[in-house]
Symmetry: C3
C-alpha cells in the first residue's frame, strides 16, 4: 500500500446473524478513510467449528466485500484462542501453572507453546487459510496469533527446557558452574533433574530463572516459526508480523525480530491516568523507538484505543484532539500505520466497554467517529512520509536480558532495582534535548552512533564489553552508570575488579555499593577546577563507592561516610571518552549533563529545547527529514521552527496549540 | 407472642457437664426479661452423635426447663455445621473450591448445597426434630440452618448449574448469544461444556459470572426449601425463617423471601470503629429497611452483639446506653424482636471473646447485663408497637443482580464502581430529610410510591424499564443517575440509544461515559433561569456526556472538555417527572435536591430536618403512627416534637440526650 | 579456646576447582585474626555425591590446612539442605504444605522433620562425620543443621501429631474439653480424626493451632536429638549447638535449650534501615539477652553480616566502625564469639551479594577487610572477658507460647495484639535506666530477681500464677499489664474472676476490655494524694476496666465513659508489691515509672541514665564486672564513668565517640 495503513481489529464474526451490521460498518469505514482491517484474530471456533471441518466462506465473503470497498485485510492466524472442542479432545494444549496446577478452558493466550498437538492443529488451519488466501489481493499481510505472553510448565515444556539447556551448556558440569549450584547443595547430576522455577521448588537460583525466561522466548519464537512455516509452505508470500506489548510479555522481542518481517505492537498509554499525558507520551515514545530499533525499519502500530479502554483502572475518555495526536505520535517515531482496537464495539463479555470506532449506538455522528475520520484524512495528506526511516546518533541500551538478571537478583536493592525508571528518566532527558534516540538491546550494533548510553549494564552478554571498548576506542562517547559489568549472562559474578573488562575504558574501579532506602537522598557536588563544571544535584537509590584508575573526577558525594569520594568521572580512552555516574541523579541533572555531551559530540538537535509535555522526532526519506512536534499539554506552547520548513501539518507560526502537532520537512 | 421477642442464641450444649450453668443462666435470663432463646444452631454432633442415633432428650429437657420459666425457643435445624462422622462417611458434603481444591473438615457454612447425601441427612434430622417438637408450645419457630453463604464447585454442583442454565436459556445458541461467547472463540457447542467461573479457567465472561451467582442463590434457596419441606412433612406448623447477613452472603435474598415466612438478619454495625456511630446506624438502618421491604412486613433482628464482637478489627466496648439504643433502632425500622448473639459466652475456640449477655465471670452485676435488663424492660413497655408496619412513600432501588453485573463488569471503573457508596449516600440524604424509606429490588412493585430513586440502574431485569415508564406516566417522580439502562440481565449491551427504552421517559440520551480516577473532581453548575435553581456542587467518579432529547437542563458540568454540557436534567412524562443526574454529586447536594423533590411530591416528613448523628423512622398500626428518634451522637440534640405526641419513651422536651431516644405515637 | 571465637561460615566447597582460593583465604584469615570457621553447612552433595558413597577427604584436607594455620573448625551436619538424589529416591523427605500441596526440590530448611528416611540418612552421614572427626583437635564443636524453621503437613507428620496429642491429653474427651470443640459441632470422636490446622480445613480452633506449634517445636527438637545421638554414638564429645533466629523460626527455643550444649544465633539488625541504629541495637540487645537467659550462660553469635545483607529490602553498607561496634555489642550481652556470614562471598545464586569478609575482588585492602582485622585484634585484647556471665536483678517475661496464644486469638484486637511492641518498649525503658536485664520465658525460674515484669501475661502455663504469687509473697516486685491471666495454656478462658488466681496478689479484678483502633488514644492521670505520684501519659491499644479488690489506685483513665476509673494500681502482698497497668502507656512513661521501681527495689544501675542511641550491659567473672557502653548514634555522647574503672577499650574521658564504645572493669 502506498498510503499509511489505517484501520484496526474488526470482529464481524460476532455479527454474522445480523448482516446489516457489516453493511453499516463498511459504509462508515469508508467515511472514516479506513483502508485496512485485521480479521480473524479470535475466529477459530467459526473457522473450524468441529475438528477437520473448515468453514472459510463467511470470511472470504467479508474479505471480498471489504476489498470491493477499498479496505484491505491483514489476516490473523486464529491461534490466540482455542475452540472448546480442541481443548476437550487435546487437554495437553491447556497450560500447566508453575505450581503444577492444570488450567481449565477459558481466557486466551494461554496454550502450551510446545504442545505437539497444538502446533499441529495450528499448522493445519494456518496452512488451510494460507491456501485459501495466498493469492488474494485483498489480503496484504499475516498477523500471527495475538499478543503472545506467558509460559507453560507441563512435562513436555519441561523436556524441551532440558533440551534447550543441554544445547546451551553442553555438560551438566558447565551448568552447575554457571548457575553456581554448589550453593545450598543444589548440584545437578544430570539434565534430567532440572525443573523450571517454581514457588514450591527451586526459586532462588537466578541462573535458572533467567534461562527459563530465555527458554520461554525460545519456545514462543519457535511457535511463531511453526506458524510462519505453515503459511509459507502453503505458498503465501505476504509479509508476516505478530503484535507485541512492550513491558508486558516477558519475552525478549529481539528473538521475535529475527523471524518476522515487520515489527508491530499494541500501544495503550495511560492517557488521563498517568502523572501527565506528556509523561505517558514519552513513555510510549520510548517503546515506539524500541520497536523501530529492533529492525531499524518502520513498524506497525497494530492496536491503539479510539477512546477509553475497559481494562485500565478507570475508562477515561480521550479529550478532543488526543486521538489524532496519538496517531501522529506513533508515525513520528516510525510507525507506518495507525490501527485501532477495535472497529466495532462488541456487545458482551469482558471487552464490551473497550473504546471502538463504532460504538453500541451504531452512529457515525459521535465525537470519536468524527475524530477517527479527521485522522484518516490527515494520514492521506502526509502519505509521502510512509517508509521513512530513523537515523539517530544517540542510542540508549534498554536490554531485556539485563532487566531479567537485575530484577531477579537478590540484592542490592530488593524493593526495586529501578532499571525501568532509570532508562525512562534518561530517555526523557534526551528528548528534552530534542534529539532522535535509538533504544537498543545489548546485542544491537553500536556502529554509527556518536553517543551510547548504558545505564546499569549489570549483566554482560553478546560481547558487549568488547564492543563498548571498540566503540570508545574509535571515538564514541560512552555514558555508563552504577552496577556496570557485575555479572556474566548467567548472573555469575565476575572475579576481580569491576566493571568487568572496562576498568581501563572507564578509568574507575567499583569498591562497594550502598543501596539507599526509598526516600533517602545523597548529593553530587561539582569538583572545583574540573574540566567540566556540572550542576549540583540530589541522588538516590544506589551510591557506588569507586576509586579512580585514571579517570578524572568531575563530581563527588555530598554526604554520608563517603562524602568527598568520586561519584561522576570521565576518562579519555582511545579516540573517545567514557563517563561513569556512580549514583542516580535526578532528571534535571541529566537534561543539563546530556545537553553538554550532545553539544560536545556534535549531534544536531531538532530544536534548541523541547517545551514540557511535548515530544519531537524525525524520519528521513528521499533527502528529506520529516520533523514532528506534538504538544500533549493542556496549554499552547511556543516552539521555534527552522527558517526553511515545508509544513505538512500545522502552520508556520511559533504557536503549538494544546493537544496538537506540527509536521514539516527540511533537508535531511 | 404478644410481646417483642427478646433473647438470642444460646448454647447450653457447651455446658452439659456443668448443670449448674443452666440453672444460673435461667435465673439470669428471667432477671433480664428474656423470653426467647435460639437453640441448637450448631448442635448436630450432640443430636446425632453417630449416624442414625438421635439423642434429643437433653435438648427437650432444656427447652422445657426454659419454657417453665417463661422462655420460648426458636429451634434451629443443625445444618450450619456437620459432625465429623458425616464428613468422613460422605466426603461429597465438603465443598470444592473454584480451583478444584477439595475442602477438609473445619469451619462452618461450608457444605455442598446440592449434595444429595447432605440434603438427605439434613432432611432426616430436620424431620426427626420436627416430629419431636411440632406440637410443643415451647417451640415458637424454626431457624433454618445459619447464615448461609458461599458456593461449591464440585461436579454435582456443576451438573446442577448446567441444568439450571438449560432451563433458563432453552438452547445453547441462546446462551451463546446472551453471553456473547463468539468473543475470543469461547462458543459453547453444548451445555455439557459449561464450567463455573474459575480463576484457572473462564473468568471474564460476565454473563457466566452473573448466572453463576443466580445459580448459587437458586441452590441455596432450594436447600432451604428442602429443609422446610422436611419440617412441614413431619407436621410442624410453626413459622420458619433463616438468618441473613446483608452485604455478605453473595445471594439474592429476594429469592429467600419467597420461601420463608419471616425475614430475619444479623446486624453488627461497626460501633466505635466506623467514621461515626451515626454513620454506622444509617448504614444498618438501610439494611433494616431492606429486610422489611422484601416482604413489606416486620422482620426479626436475629443477632446483634451485647458488647464488642471478637471478629471486627478491634473489640470495642459499647458505651453506656448504646445497647438499648441499637435495640430501639432495629424496632424503629420494623423489627419485631431484639436478639443477641449470644446469651452465654463460650470458653474456647474462635468466638470466646464475642460479647455475651452473661460473660466468663458468670456475674449478673456487669455493666452489660444491667443494660440488657433495662432494654428488656423497655420492650415490655412498648409491646403495643409489635406488628406495626411501614408505609413509606419514597423508595430507593438497591438491586442485588444489578450490583453483581456492575461489580463484575470490566470498565468503566475497575477501581470501584461505587454502587454501594451511591445507594448509601442517597439513603442518608433521604433520612436527613426525615422521611421513611423503602429499600427495594428492581422486581419489587413500584405502586404506592410518590418518589422512586434508581441510582446506577445499569442492568435491567423483571421489566423494570416498562414499570418505570408506567410509574412516571401515572404521576410518579423518578430520579435516575448515570449508567442507567446499559445492559440487559445478562450484561449484554443494548444496541442503539440508552438509557434503554427510557430516552423518552428521561428526555436524554447517553453519548459517552468518562470515568474519573479516585480523587479527581468535576462540578455541577446551575443553569441560569432554569425552572429549578440548584446549588453548585462537586462531582466525581463518573461523568456521563448526555444530549437533551426533550428534557430541560438544570445543571451543567463545570470543567473538562465537556464543560457546559448537560449534567442534571428534568423531563415531564405523562403525569410524572423524571430527573437524570449524569454524575456523582456529594451528599450535601442530595440533601438539598431531595428536600426539594420531597416537598414537590407532597411527601410528609416526620420532622423538618434530622440533626446529625441521628436517625428517625416510623411504623403504623391501628390508626397510630409510632415515631422513633434516636441520637447516636456523643452530644445532646434539639428536636422539635409534634404538638400532640403521645410519649412511649423519653420526655416531651426538645432535648434528645446523647445515646438516647424518644418514642411517641401520633395519629397515622 | 581461651580466646573469643572469631570467624564464621566458610564455603570452600564452592571453590574446589580453584585451589588458589583456599590459599588466599587462609592467608587473609590469619591477617584478620580469624581463629575459627564454620564448615560444611550445605555440603551434603559433595560429602555424599551418591547414596552411600562418602567423600570426606576434601573436607579433612581443608580442616587440617586451616588448623595448621591456627584456624579451628566448628563442623556442621549437612542436614540443612539435601542433595537432589536424596529427594528423588525418597520423595517423603520433601515437605507437604498446609493445603496438601507437595513441595518440589529447591530451597533449604524445608525437609519433613519426622520423615524416617530423612532422619536415617541424616543419622548415617552425621555418624560418619563424627567417626571421622571425633578425635580431631581441629574440630571444636558441632553445628547441627542450620536455621531450623517451618513445618511439614504430610501424613507421617500428621500421625506423629496425633501421637503427641494423645500423650498430652490422654483421652479425646479431655482434648475436646480443652479445645472447646462442642463449638460449631467440631467434637472429635477419636484422635484419628485430628488434622493439623489448614487454610482449607480447621483454622479457627486456637487450641489446635497452639498445640500444632508445640508439636512443630517437638518435632524439630526431636530431629535435633536424633542428630546429636548420631554424633554422640559415634564417640564425638565436642559441644553441640544449632543456630537460631529469634522472631523467625516459629519454634519455642526453650525446648532446644534443653538438648543442646550452647545457645547460638544469627543476628542481622536492620542497620541503616531501621528507625535508627540505636533502636536496632536495643532490639537485638533484647534477643542477645534472651539467648543468654535460656541457659543463663554465654552464647555464640553464630552469624552476623560484615557488610550489607542481600536479603533485606536494601543492601546498606555498614558505616565505618559499626562492624566492630556490633561485635562489641554482642559480647557485652554475653556472646563468647563474633562470627560472620560469610568469610568468602560466593559467585552466584541467591546470596552472591551478601556481605563477606573477602569479596569478589579477592582483595585484603578493602574497607570491610580492614575493619574485620581491627575487630579481631580487639577481641584478642579483651580475651579475659570470655566466659563471664550475667547477674541481672530485673527480668522481663517474653514468652513464646504466650505469643502464639495471643496472636492466634480472635479478639480483642485482630489488627495487632502488639505483644512484641510492648515487650520491646518496656525493655528499652529498662535499658535507658542502665540496668542489666534477663529476658525469660514463663517457665524460667523467678528466683534471684528483685523485679519481675510480666506484660500481657494472657496465657498461663508451667504454674506461672503460683510462682508469681510466691515471688511477690517473698518480697519481689511484680509489674503486670492488661490481658493478664485470661486463658490457660490451651487458650481456654478461666471462669470467674481474672487475672486468674492473682486477683488477691494484684488486688484488682478485670471487668471488661476495650480495644482501641490504631491511632486512638486515652490517657492515664495521676490520683491526687496517692502513695506514688506518676506523670500523666497517653495510652493506647487496649483499656481494661478494672475494679479494686484491695489495691491502691495510682492512676485513672482520662477520657471515654470510663474516665476516672482505675488504670494503674499497686497492691502490697506478703513481703512484696504488685503493680497492675491496665492500658498501654508510652515509652517515656515507662522510663520514669521503671526508674522509680528500680530505685525502690535497690537495683544498682550501671550509670545514672543512658544517652539516646546507646546501649549498656555488663558481665561478671572472677570478682570483676565488665561494663560495655556502646554509642550507635552519629554524634559523640557524654557518659559518666565510675571513678575507679579499669579501661579495656576506650579512654577514661567522658566523651563516648560516635559509633564507638568503652569497655572497663570494676569490682563486681
Amino acid at each position: 500500500m502506498e498510503e499509511f495503513i489505517y484501520g484496526g481489529d474488526y470482529n464481524p464474526d460476532q455479527w454474522l446473524d445480523e448482516p446489516q451490521v457489516l453493511e453499516d460498518d463498511i459504509r462508515m469505514m469508508k467515511k472514516a478513510h479506513i483502508n485496512e482491517v485485521s480479521l480473524g484474530i479470535f475466529s477459530w471456533a467459526l473457522l473450524e467449528p468441529e475438528e477437520g471441518r473448515f468453514e472459510f466462506d463467511w470470511l472470504a465473503d467479508i474479505i471480498h466485500k471489504l476489498y470491493e470497498n477499498g479496505i484491505y485485510t491483514i489476516l490473523a492466524t486464529p491461534s490466540g484462542a482455542r475452540p472448546r472442542w480442541l481443548a476437550k479432545k487435546y487437554p495437553e494444549v491447556l497450560r500447566t501453572y508453575e505450581d503444577g496446577k492444570k488450567a481449565k478452558f477459558g481466557g486466551r493466550h494461554n496454550h502450551c507453546l510446545t504442545s505437539p498437538a497444538y502446533r499441529e492443529k495450528v499448522r493445519i488451519i494456518d496452512a488451510k487459510l494460507a491456501e485459501c488466501f495466498k493469492d488474494d489481493p485483498a489480503v496484504i499481510g499475516w498477523h500471527i496469533s495475538n499478543e503472545f505472553s506467558g509460559e507453560c510448565y507441563c512435562s513436555h515444556c519441561q523436556d524441551e527446557f532440558r533440551k534447550f539447556l543441554k544445547r546451551k551448556f553442553g555438560s551438566i558440569e558447565k551448568l552447575n558452574h554457571e548457575w553456581w549450584t554448589t550453593f545450598w547443595s543444589h548440584t545437578y547430576t544430570s539434565f534430567d533433574e532440572i525443573e523450571p522455577p517454581s514457588s514450591i521448588g527451586e526459586n532462588e537460583t537466578n541462573g535458572l530463572i533467567i534461562d527459563w525466561r530465555r527458554f520461554a522466548t525460545y519456545a514462543c519464537t519457535d511457535f511463531i516459526k511453526n506458524e510462519i512455516e505453515a503459511i509459507r509452505s502453503a505458498g503465501a508470500k505476504q509479509p508476516v508480523t505478530t503484535n507485541m506489548m512492550y513491558e508486558f510479555g516477558g519475552y525478549d522481542y529481539a528473538e521475535f525480530a529475527k523471524v518476522i518481517d515487520t515489527m508491530s505492537w499494541d500501544s495503550y498509554p495511560e492517557w488521563g491516568i498517568a502523572e501527565s499525558d506528556g509523561k505517558a507520551a514519552l513513555e510510549h515514545g520510548l517503546y515506539h523507538d524500541m520497536m523501530r530499533s529492533f529492525k531499524d525499519k518502520p513498524f506497525l502500530l497494530m492496536e491503539s484505543c479510539p477512546s477509553g479502554t475497559n481494562w485500565q483502572s478507570v475508562s477515561r475518555l480521550k479529550r478532543p484532539g488526543l486521538l489524532k495526536l496519538a496517531g501522529i505520535h506513533a508515525v513520528s517515531h516510525g510507525a507506518d500505520s495507525v490501527q485501532y482496537f477495535q472497529i466495532r464495539q462488541g456487545r458482551g463479555s469482558s471487552e464490551k466497554f473497550h473504546g471502538a470506532v463504532i460504538d453500541h449506538t451504531g452512529r457515525d455522528d459521535t465525537r470519536v467517529f468524527k475524530e477517527v475520520t479527521e485522522t484518516g484524512a490527515l494520514l492521506k495528506e502526509i502519505a509521502e512520509i510512509k517508509g521513512a526511516v530513523g537515523d539517530a546518533k544517540v542510542a540508549i541500551i534498554n536490554d531485556t536480558q539485563n532487566k531479567w538478571a537485575l530484577e531477579n537478583s537478590q540484592g542490592p536493592r530488593n524493593c526495586n532495582e529501578g532499571y525501568y525508571e532509570t532508562v525512562h528518566k534518561i530517555y526523557e532527558a534526551l528528548k528534552i534535548n530534542a534529539v532522535d534516540v535509538d533504544v537498543i538491546e545489548e546485542s544491537h550494533s553500536f556502529d554509527g552512533y556518536k553517543i551510547l548510553i548504558a545505564p546499569m549494564l549489570y549483566s554482560l552478554h553478546d560481547g558487549a564489553e568488547k564492543r563498548i571498548r571498540e566503540f570508545v576506542e574509535n571515538g564514541g562517547i560512552l555514558i555508563s552508570t552504577y552496577l556496570c559489568g557485575v555479572v556474566n549472562e548467567n548472573d555469575l559474578c565476575y572475579m576481580g575488579d569491576i566493571p568487568y573488562d572496562m576498568t581501563d575504558v572507564l578509568g574507575v574501579r567499583t569498591e562497594e555499593i550502598d543501596a539507599l532506602c526509598d526516600g533517602m537522598k545523597n548529593s553530587l557536588l561539582p569538583v572545583e577546577g574540573a574540566s567540566m563544571r556540572l550542576q549540583e544535584t540530589d541522588c538516590e537509590k544506589m551510591c557506588e563507592l569507586i576509586s579512580l584508575k585514571g579517570a578524572e573526577c568531575l563530581m563527588t558525594y555530598g554526604s554520608d561516610f563517603y562524602k568527598g569520594s568520586p561519584a561522576l568521572t570521565v576518562n579519555q580512552f582511545g579516540k573517545g571518552k567514557a563517563y561513569y555516574i556512580a549514583s542516580e541523579p535526578d532528571r534535571e541533572f541529566y537534561v543539563g549533563f546530556l545537553g553538554r555531551i550532545i553539544k560536545e559530540a556534535g549531534v544536531v538537535k531538532l530544536m534548541e529545547s523541547l517545551p514540557e509535555e511535548c515530544d519531537i522526532a524525525s524520519r528521513v526519506k528521499g533527502g528529506k527529514r520529516y520533523v514532528f512536534i506534538e504538544n500533549f499539554g493542556r496549554e499552547d506552547k511556543e516552539v521555534k521552527l527552522p527558517e526553511v520548513a515545508d509544513m505538512l501539518y500545522g502552520d508556520t507560526s511559533s504557536k503549538l496549540p494544546a493537544t496538537d502537532a506540527k509536521i514539516y520537512s527540511i533537508k535531511a
